[in-house]
């Protein structure tokens, strides 16, 4: 063996050892992922039996990771239902109870205080978002201001859905844009595409104390999301598809929020759309929101 070859072999061995050391954190992380999880198919390609198995696995993982007993269901859209939301800007006081209710209902990461709702404190006389402020800390409400909570607008022409390279997000029959948290690859293209800052990314594994976990969960909505995937408001489909109201609406102390079936002519939301001066955010973008704002004074 020549000196050169000996040096080459020594170098290659050293390199291989350094390589193994460098990727060690991946091995540590990968040990947590089961083969079933890795090979899981897209939500819409899962048979009822396969989905049931997935849900059982997810419930077990929640038990192992968080110590909480949860029940994950998979409520489907109802025939003849398309959900719409309207918000009365004349009476919203900016208390952010809706954002807080969302935080708890949807099992958001506690340290980041995440919520699907951001409340903008707006200047009277302008609907320019640039004049708004999200980080106000004074007691509400300021009589010089009005308040505009913003969450997913469940667009009929959703840019976030169009851009997803793997169809991990789509619009359901009842109008709700959902994410398959087990299919999303975490490229965040949808987050760049959304004009309403409605999407969130799980930058870390969500941290929630066992006793604070909401055990009533659904596969497409508030189950605890894995690290590295997108999440968004689902109009609380685990509640609303069962005939209940979204958590943000129930938490609102002023009754500013109106939720209902846009296809039902007798619904309250249809009455609001017919009788109030209604507008949608960034109408010029052609996203066709199912979320409406109105003033009644």
């Amino acid at each position: 063996m020549t000196r050169r070859n000996a040096l080459k072999i020594a170098g290659a061995t050293l390199g291989a050892a350094a390589f193994a050391k460098a990727i060690a954190p991946i091995a540590e992380w990968g040990a947590e992922e089961s083969v079933d999880e890795f090979l899981q198919k897209h939500y819409r390609e899962l048979s009822p039996e396969a989905l049931a198995k997935v849900i059982t696995r997810l419930e077990q993982e929640t038990k192992e990771d968080y110590g909480a007993e949860v029940h994950i269901s998979d409520p489907r859209p109802q025939e003849g239902v398309k959900f719409g939301y309207a918000l009365n800007l004349s009476i919203c006081v900016g208390c952010r109870r809706c954002a807080e209710a969302c935080h708890k209902e949807n099992n958001h990461d506690r340290p980041s205080g995440n919520s699907y709702i951001r409340v903008l404190e707006m200047q009277k006389g302008s609907i320019d978002l640039a004049q708004g402020n999200v980080t106000y800390t004074h007691p509400v409400s300021d009589s010089e201001k009005y308040y505009m909570p913003v969450q997913c607008q469940q667009c009929d022409n959703p840019p976030c859905v169009h851009v997803c390279p793997v169809e991990a997000t789509w619009k359901e029959k009842d109008g709700i844009v959902v994410v398959d948290y087990n299919w999303c690859i975490g490229c965040r293209y949808c987050e760049a595409a959304c004009p309403y800052h409605a999407r969130r990314f799980n930058w870390t594994k969500p941290e929630i104390p066992k006793e604070e976990i909401n055990p009533v969960q659904a596969y497409l909505s508030n189950r605890i999301r894995p690290q590295g995937v997108m999440e968004k408001c689902t109009f609380c489909l685990h509640r609303t598809r069962e005939g209940r109201l979204p958590a943000c609406l129930e938490a609102c102390p002023t009754g500013a929020r109106v939720f209902g079936n846009l296809l039902d002519p007798k619904s309250e939301i249809r009455w609001v759309l017919a009788n109030k001066r209604v507008f949608v955010l960034k109408e010029e973008l052609g996203t066709k929101p199912s979320f409406f704002y109105f003033f009644d004074k």
């Binding site: 990727i23 299919w183 004009p195 799980n202 973008l285």
Partner: protein
Amino acid sequence: MSNNAPVSRPRFAPDPARGHFYNYVRFLWRSGLDATDGSGWFYAWMTLLSAVALVGLNAWATQIQHGMGVTGMNDHVSWGLYIANFTFMVGLAAGGVMMVIPAYLYHDEEMHDVVIVGEMLAVAAIVMCIGFVVVDLGRPDRVWHMLPGIGVFHWPVSMLTWDVLVLNGYLLLNLHICGYLLYMRFIGRTPNPRWYVPFVFISIVWAISIHTVTAFLYCGLGGRPFWNTALLAPRFLASAFVSGPAFIILGLQILRRFAGVQMSDRPISILANIMRVTILINLLMLASEVFTEFYSGTSHTSAARYLYFGLHGAHGLVPWIWTSVAFCVIAAVLLLRPGVVGHKVQLTVACVLAFVAVWIEKGMGLIIPGFIPSTLHELVEYTPSLIEWQIMAGVWAAGLLVYTIALKIGLPVLTTKPGAKH
């Protein structure tokens, strides 16, 4: 080490009695051996690159384990250094075509001799593009979800799927062209133009497509007014045809100096002439964008105001963009001097400045301000974390490793004339 430098390796010579499949494997094996033999400087360079790549790999592994919270990104600025570098790299890959066009369209013999330097740059740059996309994914373990057939490929609606197609197509085209020419040299035959010239012409059009599609990723988003401009794709191309030739001029000078490659000044002079035009087009488009943004004064210009002058006390990107503008202007002035090709120091300075200017412009000057202010007009600034810088350096090092190896294999083609004994 020089006492036993290999002169020839009859063990791995082609065997004319066997088929192409057998000989191609032999060719790859021989190439692999060639790529791991060299001078002390070569080993030092490769060791350095390997070390940096390993640091990056470790940083990426840490990011996978702890989540992307270890980066400086957040829900407001959701793309950062990785996608910035990805965008720049697509341009670098496309820029290599500025050697291919003179060589094949204008039959410039001397450019033809070194054109493989540009084609190999395309290969290395695409490898880096793929690297930067993968390190940006929250779930790299799920990349297979994108594979047509076993995953769900949202084509043709998602522009990202188009980008996957054009980038991989460009990689394959250039791998084929380089591989075919080198393999023909290996078995001692004259390359048959039928097997590579059509692919070269396809690759010219394809080079335009990769940067156009990448621009469409951004300019197709109506909710991001800073990106939502028809000028984006043309500007991407103009800047790509600045950074690509700049990199190749620097590379050719290094090869001439340190790798003993014999060549005239002509390829460098052609590339410098291309840069003279493209850098001015790039500046013209910059001026056009700046005018449109600032003269109208609509509320959609807050990202541009943040970028160039700062907004409401936040001005993290101001030093970046003015550095870029200044470098670009200085490079343009230097390049416009008639004697610049003969003046190697000036040419080198101009190329380095132009390269850095475009890197900033495509990254800190384009991707980041698209997110600031956010769609609800919140002003959250972005500073890359140490891990992001490490991963970026790692991907660059890996790409340069690929490029060095490719050149090491391709060098015999550059240094010997067709028909000469190997």
